[in-house]
Symmetry: C2
Subunit: 342 residues, 2 copies
DNA sequence: GTGAAAGCGCTAACAC
DNA sequence: GTGTTAGCGCTTTCAC
């Protein structure tokens, strides 16, 4: 199919030779400089085609100091690396990022930072020119990674606000509002005894959702909201639901802080013979793919994860292009998705 | 925290200066050359520490022609890029690859190749030095990408055997054996009327599973196996199961070519009042995470995806290190995982 | 064992 | 407009 003469990749020198111009002119044409004679442009373009020339990234990077690539850093607390992609939340975020950057011709490199050592290596990776900057997806409030990037003055943008006040850009969801949406739905349904299954306290989003839910409930004259704590896994949702059912048998509505736990809750309710939503109404959070197919369909709070991911990428690209711009944050609004469960 | 003097990254020159040696010696120490005086080693190491030196990847790449990074190319047929990570199969493969390579200090870049244009760009990406080689995860038998990589003499390894005979390394599962395992289970349970829900004909794995299932059934004296065709999504599994139930009401056992479809099948069976496994036994394929939590627990054929991914990475690394080695294939064995559904 | 110097392929002044 | 040239930071002969 392809008929390369030499075995090495053609260089700019080869192109210039074939086109009968200087390397500089060839370079100008290839980089779309305005100030080139139309005829030479054609000559060079033809030469590029015949030689099959592709500019060498390393050489470019070396001279202009930009790699043109970015890192997608997944910073988990434990070593649960494999499951990251199994998690529908990470899956959607990663997918959104990859999709958006593909359009820009950028292929993010995946970096797992699930230990102090891995975090140090992630920093070194960017420093040595592995990427111009990083997209940080970490949920733990005490994750030291954002601080490390700021300390090193490396461009980075977070998904979810940082645990400590840190001069860094981020995108986030208005979790309070999402929780309020859930509260209103449950109250409007006529639920009298409403509880919540919360996420791990170390995760800011979980804190926000629980706090927001309590506030909204208080505004509806319900100052007391029983809570069971899970860790965002399906199993923990089962456990929490079982506990709630034991401690509060008259329960008739529950807000679960993510869909995975909600699935577990749904199953426990079914096992205990409670009909959903007639006996107990359930509202989840995320609008994850599996949740859409749950039985019964899960009423939930949707986050525009793909949009958020795209915006995160945009913020980083802007920061890389102009290192002087100030940190900004973009907060997205959640949306109530009504299905059968509430 | 960090107290960098200049704002630019320290270079080898800086290290050499601080250590009081030449660049060459500093380079030798940093690259672990044997032939260096122990004392200079110490001096250089100290200088590295005080300067906070990190070798520049682009410069290294430029001189030795290796980027030290690899591409993970996901080659879908349609433009369904975002869902890639939502799919538990891709999720596990991607996770396995990332996990394995992280240990080697390599962070794969994710490349979506879901159109002819995207495929051409993927090739160009590797050619320009974006990566030393590619891990190709594509399931469609007619995917042109493997051929393109071979034509360009770019190192690549496939997940799943190529559709056309192609001189390229790959890892794969013994799908025949997996299907036979399923057949035996169903027969051993005493099922009399056994059907199968197959995957898309364009996917080799789907072909293999159906063919293998028929063969195994024939060996058990069951030459006739009704089939309904799905496309590996949950919805298509529902449709296929409904059709099977309509056309073969006496059905009492079904082999479903992947877990996602099996989930859909399970739900349709429940909706139709068929008890699983008493009325209809179901065997899936994949042992995906969601399937493990299905209700009832899904009996399925497990693939060691993480091991397969790791082996795929190993093969590529070996090929990059020595371009002369011949293509090899590594076939993994599936395993029957018994839960409640069969 | 150690240093000097030549490039790897490219871009960007700088002259013309 | 176009060509010449000096590096970008590193590894690696090649002398010493």
């Amino acid at each position: 199919m392809s008929t390369k003469s030499a075995d090495r990749q053609p260089t700019l020198e080869d192109v210039a030779l074939v086109a009968g111009v200087s390397r500089a002119t060839a370079s100008r044409v290839i980089n779309g400089s305005k100030k080139v004679n139309a005829q030479m442009i054609r000559k060079v373009q033809r030469a590029v085609k015949t030689t099959g020339y592709v500019p060498n990234t390393a050489a470019r990077t070396l001279v202009n100091g930009k790699t043109g690539s970015i890192a997608l850093v997944l910073s988990g607390s434990d070593g649960s690396a494999e499951q990251v992609f199994g998690d529908p939340f990470f899956g959607r975020v990663a997918g959104g990022v990859v999709k958006h950057l593909s359009n820009e011709g950028i292929h993010p490199s995946l970096v797992l930072a699930d230990s102090d050592e891995a975090r140090a290596k992630a920093i070194a990776y960017v420093r040595r020119g592995g990427a111009d900057g990083a997209l940080l997806v970490s949920t733990h409030a005490d994750d030291p990674l954002p601080g490390l990037f700021v300390d090193e003055r490396l461009p980075a943008v977070l998904f979810a606000r940082p645990g400590r006040p840190t001069p860094i850009s981020f995108v986030d969801l208005d979790h309070d509002k999402g929780a309020a949406l859930a509260a209103e739905r449950l109250v409007a349904r006529g639920c009298r005894n409403i509880a919540t299954i919360s996420g791990p306290p170390a995760v800011l989003a979980a804190q926000d959702r629980e706090k927001g839910f309590r506030q909204a409930m208080a505004q509806h004259g319900r100052p007391y909201v029983p809570v069971a704590i899970g860790n965002f896994t399906r199993e923990s949702g089962e456990l929490a639901m079982a506990q709630l059912l034991r401690d509060h048998p008259t329960l008739d509505g529950v807000f679960v802080a993510n869909d995975l736990m909600a699935e577990g809750a749904l199953q426990v309710l079914r096992d205990h013979g409670r009909r959903v939503p007639d006996d107990v109404a359930v509202v989840g959070f995320d609008d994850s793919l599996p949740a859409r197919q749950a039985e019964p369909g899960l009423t939930t709070i949707a986050q525009p994860l793909e949009e958020m991911s795209a915006e995160m990428a945009r913020l980083l690209l802007a920061r890389i292009a102009d290192p002087t711009i100030q940190p900004t944050s973009v907060i997205f609004s959640p949306r109530l998705v009504i299905r059968e469960s509430a």
